[in-house]
Amino acid sequence: MKLNDEESDILAGKMGSVAQQALQHQMKVGEFFGAEDFVPVTQAHLMADTESLGEAGVQWLEGLAATDDRRRLVRIPTITDPRGTDFANADLLGQTSAMLSLERRAISAFVKLGVAMTNTCINYQTIQAPTRNEHVAFGDTGVVIYSNSICGARSNFEGGPSALAAGLTGRTPRYGFHLPETRRATLRIHVEFTPTTLNGWGALGGVIGRIAGNYWSVPVIEGIEGAPMSDQLKHFGASMASFGSIAMFHLVGLTPEASKLDDVAAPGLTSHRVTKADVDELQSSYHTDDQVDVVVFSAPQLSLFELGDLAELCEGRRFTVPLLAITSPQVKPDADRMGYTARIEAAGGNVLSGMCFYQSYAREISEAKGWKRLATNSAKLVNILGGYGYRPMLASMESCVDAAVNGKLART
């Protein structure tokens, strides 16, 4: 990779050992993908739940944080994805003191590195959305696909080590979605059905993600009616990224780089048709039981609007199985002020913040709480939790609330 003078100084250790290690890591990745140079980035978003980090990852972070040199600090705004717990509700999740201790150590290390503990995967709704052509280094696939597609910003999937490295060096290798040519469509999708529910948007994203199939695929999608809301596109993108490892899509006439089809698509691209039956089939394939042990709204964290809708559905209800609604630390105080939290809790639910269900030792939670059959309106969550030993089921928010009341998930 070509290095400028500043990068050469970082590599030589003149900016401190932490930045030096960070740049070395970035060069390994950049050279792997054939990056010619680095591109400056303005923000980094860091996924680092302790289930993923493990003891080894936390020790690695503590090693960086122990450096007696203020040059260990990040040099651009660097924020965090959800943590592995909500300390106030750890007992509810059956989490152990060892898990919480590891979490505290990780947080302490991040703070010493200058990382801002925002603990959110909806930073584009709550902290600061990136702007068109802004180069950023974002983790959480849902954040990346939203930022690339809806905001027109430029980011690859930056896992925790690389996002932290970008925070420490203020740059990232220029490859992938930082390059205009990678952002052009590789396949066309014609949608014959525009969902109205969040689970429907998630299921549609899942179908398209499966068709597209890998990180380097960029679907351009035609046929969406109306102008989807941020929460709908949040579930759509997060699910597409989860099912297909997709980092970017275009909606013709809606997203900023595709005001018309030929802005992003060359003639002759492979074309696919997606029908309502495809979306229904994905959803019904997860409906493997009628009984429900737990209802979870998470992945991505809920917006204030979603919590408002949930509070409305909880009115006058009494839950017989646990219902967890998980949001960001930025949204939670507003939900408290608006009375949403109280209304959800009055029905027997719980509102948690700063974590995400699948990033919080989901396997151990299942074993501790006896939760296997899980209902959610998040397609992303059902895609992930199978590997954790759950039988996840996808349904509307309304059906999930009904399931929390009577313990059964109605078939639709």
Binding site: H25, K28, M47, A56, G57, F157, G159, N214, N383, G387
Partner: protein, 136 residues
């Protein structure tokens, strides 16, 4: 008999030799693995129930989220990590994870590498030369 050699466009890590565990399926450490017991745990995965520890995984593509970037490092520290990763295509997360976890990796072949390598074959991963060789 001349050894079969496959050239990769992307490579990282050290030379290793081991037994190939092959499937035309995707890979995510979070989605697919029981990282406590060292086996594929997603019921729908073609390698469900099989141990990945010390194997050279030959798979189609990277799936899912960003957690693998940390998880390979943690798995390595606990001795329950694949010996190497050989994929038709990878996303940045796998490359970032392999870089931090010091796991050898090859990706990008002219043919479907999951069809070319027999399951259980002994193979050598040579990132310095960017080649995968079927030894036996």
């Amino acid at each position: 008999m001349k050894a079969k050699v496959f050239r990769a466009r992307h490579s990282m890590g050290r030379i290793v030799r081991g037994i190939a565990l092959v499937a035309h399926d995707g890979f995510s450490a979070r989605y697919d693995l029981d990282r406590i017991n060292g086996v594929f745990s997603r019921p729908a995965h073609k390698l469900a129930g099989q141990s990945y520890v010390g194997k050279i995984l030959v798979l189609d593509t990277a799936k899912g989220g960003v957690a693998t970037a940390w998880m390979l490092h943690d798995m390595k520290s606990r001795g329950i990590v694949p010996l190497a990763l050989v994929f038709n295509s990878v996303n940045p997360i796998l490359a970032q994870g392999a870089a931090l976890g010091d796991v050898s990796m090859l990706a990008g072949f002219d043919e479907d590498i999951t069809a070319a390598i027999p399951n259980g074959a002994e193979v050598e991963v040579n990132p310095q030369m960017g080649v995968l060789t079927v030894v036996a």
